[in-house]
């Protein structure tokens, strides 16, 4: 039963990993181990169901007992102040009696109230966490998801798992009320999601609650990033704080490479005749900016992950591409996949024992020259330095500048010009080849998926846009047809392939976009939307700049093909392969669904010649602050 001690071991490990993070975790948690919690729960005697009186109270049909005295300075005000101090923009949640004190502070405390963070009404906890997931990928920082005790945490479980798998920071708060509905509390609330949250705490006092929130935030944003959970008792939310001070917030000190290593790598980059930099997913937009600065300083051709996820090198930067020669004699990897494998792809064993050394992070990977020294996924001989790449870049840039001579500068400028021309040619060649295939089924009805991306591009190419929905099931046509030059151009996949992601992640991205004059594109697969479509209402209610275009192939299409193949190899015929895999009899009308949630919409459209005008109407609406949905009936793929 190694897991019994996992909590303490893990905290010990993470405490070390997050050097300089705010407070010590050890004092913030209950002493209840998962095993003790189980004993306390008394497996032989199930928790009683809520009484009629309790349910009536929860439903608001009886007056609550006047046992809670009015307070001048409720503890939850201090909790919200802590969140304000950390610059958190949004909290998404739906109401739960276990955090009513905190919710009241969110909406009333501060001047102006309900700002930083603003309360975003979610219709499902799964959507609340996925909104935070999408927001963090777009913005490089967390927002808050507020979860009701036990049942809300369980609703959120799948999306927590996805955020964990996707190394995305999310700050989650759940309420705990021991004296109210027993079914909505637990001795160890976090236990049910502990194997896929990075850190959790169940503070024992109001003071501990405040530092726990700071610590949870810092753990979430310290690599390896991930969702964190703080359990806040209702009594701490409601108690009189008196003179208790809000502790000053100290951001985490994220470890980068040391000066010696920076000197060594800088020298290697400058001594190389043809250096290469492979950039994958950095933490924040600032990291992307720094990676561009480094590549330009040393004149390295650069690889990017911008078409597979956020926070990577601009796709059409002159240095982005194979460069003038692929005989690289030194490659520097910044969060390259080979180094990320230990955290991006945790197997079940890792999830069950997250305190093991398997949790690491990509870091910075110098690869010596040689025939196989192409970097990227092929750089299997690379020895990863367990340090954050983004945090390493300032020192590395400084060191490169220090070592740069006039002669080297001249050589670098010549090399950059050659790379730029070679990359331009390579780009034209790749796109010319790609468009040949994109015209397949160009005039087909239903609509070919490539045509959706092609028709949309001229309408958004001069806008500040973000494609927030995963494109794997929709052909990924943006990879060739669009131009991914911002850290948030494409936010990538679900994390763990879970459905119910596209719309809420897009809403999260749209929250990030709203105050930044950006528009969010959600090319929404139909099977995915049906998990929690209520998030469309959230988009309307909060006037989010989100254009949803349905990729409506009326099926969970990948699975239809899987089952069809299985029918075939078993010799039983494919004519029932649609059972349980397709969405027909009746077809779902997504325009009406959206209208039901108050969203402007149109469709279904199956004639490709009608797309451009519909997309234009949709974008015009979005720019007015009114999200829009267009139902497009598509070819399956």
């Amino acid at each position: 039963m190694a897991k019994k001690n996992g909590s303490l071991n893990r905290r010990g490990f993470l405490k070390g990993a997050a050097a300089g993070a705010a407070a010590s975790a050890a004092s913030l948690v209950t002493n209840t181990s998962p095993a003790e919690a189980q004993r306390g729960g008394n497996a032989a005697a199930p928790v009683p169901a809520p009484t009629q009186e309790q349910i009536a109270r929860d439903a608001g049909v009886v007056r609550p007992p006047a046992t809670v005295r009015a307070v001048q300075r409720p503890g939850s005000d201090l909790m919200v102040q802590v969140l304000k101090d950390m610059g958190l923009e949004y909290v998404a949640g739906n109401p739960g009696s276990s955090f009513e004190g905190l919710q009241e502070s969110f909406i009333n405390y501060g001047n102006p109230p309900n700002r930083m963070p603003e309360f975003i009404t979610a219709l499902h906890e799964e959507s609340a966490v996925t909104m935070a997931h999408g927001y963090a990928k777009a913005e490089g920082k967390p927002m808050i998801a507020l979860l009701h005790g036990t049942i809300g945490v369980q609703h959120a479980a799948m999306s927590i798992y996805q955020a964990y798998y996707d190394r995305t920071p999310v700050l989650m708060i759940t309420g705990r009320d021991e004296g109210f509905i027993q079914a909505h509390t637990a001795h160890d609330m976090s236990a049910m999601v502990r194997s896929f949250t990075k850190w959790d705490a169940q503070p024992r006092t109001l003071e501990e609650s405040l530092t726990a929130l700071q610590h949870a935030h810092n753990e979430a944003i310290t690599p390896p990033m991930g969702p964190t959970l703080v359990v806040l008792d209702t009594e701490f939310q409601k108690e009189e704080a008196r003179e208790l001070k809000v502790p000053a917030y100290r951001p985490p000190q994220i470890a980068g490479i040391d000066a010696g290593k920076a000197k060594e790598i800088a020298k290697a980059l400058l001594d190389a005749q043809n250096p290469r930099i492979e950039v994958r997913r950095l933490r924040t937009p600032q990291g992307v900016k720094l990676s561009v600065e480094l590549a330009e300083l040393v004149g390295a051709s650069t690889g990017t992950g911008a078409t597979t996820g956020p926070m990577s090198f601009p796709q059409r930067h002159p240095l982005c591409g194979p460069g003038a020669s692929t005989a690289y004699d030194y490659t520097l990897g910044l969060e390259i996949p080979a180094a990320q494998a230990s955290i991006i792809g945790p197997g079940l064993a890792t999830l069950l024992a997250r305190d093991t050394a398997n949790i690491g992070f990509g870091g910075i990977v110098p690869v010596a020259g040689g025939r196989d020294a192409r970097g990227g996924a092929g750089a299997t001989n690379a020895a990863a330095i367990q340090a954050d790449a983004e945090a390493s870049l300032p020192l590395l840039i400084e060191e490169v500048k220090r070592q740069l001579t006039a002669d080297k500068r001249r050589v670098i400028e010549e090399r950059k010009a050659k790379h730029a021309e070679a990359n331009r040619k390579a780009r034209i060649e790749a796109i010319t080849q790609a468009v040949e295939t994109k015209r397949n089924g160009w005039d087909s009805s239903p609509v070919a998926t490539a045509r959706i991306y092609a028709e949309l591009w001229p309408l958004i190419k001069n806008e500040d846009w973000c494609l927030a929905s995963p494109s794997g099931f929709s052909g990924g046509h943006h990879v060739q047809l669009w131009d991914h030059n911002k850290p948030y151009s494409y936010l990538g996949g679900q994390g763990a392939g879970g459905m119910g992601y596209g719309a809420p992640a897009s809403v999260g991205a749209a929250l990030a976009a709203k105050s930044r004059n950006r528009i969010v594109i959600n090319i929404q697969t139909d099977g995915d939307l049906n998990y929690a479509p209520g998030v469309l209402w959230t988009a309307v209610h909060h006037k989010l700049p989100m254009l949803t275009i349905m990729h409506n192939n009326r099926a969970w299409h990948q699975e239809l093909m899987f089952v069809e193949y299985m029918c075939g190899v078993r010799g039983r015929g494919t004519d029932r392969g649609h059972i349980g895999t397709s969405l027909r009899d009746p077809f779902i009308d997504y325009a009406k669904m959206a209208a039901g949630y108050g969203m402007a919409s149109e469709g279904p459209i199956s004639d490709p010649s009608k797309l451009a005008a519909a997309f234009k109407r949709g974008l015009d609406s979005v720019k007015r602050g009114e999200p829009y949905l267009i139902d497009v009936i598509t070819q399956p793929r």
């Binding site: 331009r424 397949n440 092609a454 069809e564 075939g568 010799g571 494919t574 649609h578």
Partner: protein, 144 residues
């Protein structure tokens, strides 16, 4: 005999991807004996559209890339019967096998008749301004 047949089947199936890659741009002209109307219903109910699109032009498209397996009814039926009948451990989106007890020769001919009605409707690239513009933009620095 079984061995020789096995080798022949192996060779045939191992060459299929090559045929698939080197398909004929022109549709076959062999005789068609099935009913395209029946075939249309079967193309849908047996989920052929799922991989090949409603018009054979998308996904694993065959219109404009007519493989030898589609050259005539006999080849088509042989192809349907000769697909793998051992399930891999991981899910697959390969072409399923269609045994005779699940799809008769007559039904197969009907489907064949229907797919022979498919026309190569994609315009020439020069007639798609949108895609030409995208190629042209690629030669420029970033738009943003």
């Amino acid at each position: 005999m079984k061995t020789i047949l096995g080798i022949a089947v192996f060779l045939l199936t191992s060459m299929l991807p090559i045929y698939a890659q080197r398909g004929n741009t022109q549709a076959p002209t062999s005789p068609v004996t099935g009913s395209a109307a029946n075939g249309k219903a079967l193309y849908y109910s047996y989920s052929c559209y799922a991989c090949h699109g409603y018009n054979g032009e998308t996904g694993r498209a065959f219109v404009g890339n007519w493989s030898a397996n589609l050259a005539n009814e006999e080849n088509f039926i042989r192809f349907l019967r000769g697909r793998a009948n051992v399930a891999p451990l991981t899910p697959s989106t390969s072409m399923p096998n269609f045994a005779e007890n699940t799809l008769s020769d007559k039904q197969a001919k009907d489907i064949y008749a229907y797919i022979r009605t498919f026309k190569n409707a994609q315009p020439d690239l020069k007639n798609i301004p949108l895609l030409n513009q995208i190629v042209e933009d690629a030669s420029k620095p970033s738009t943003r």
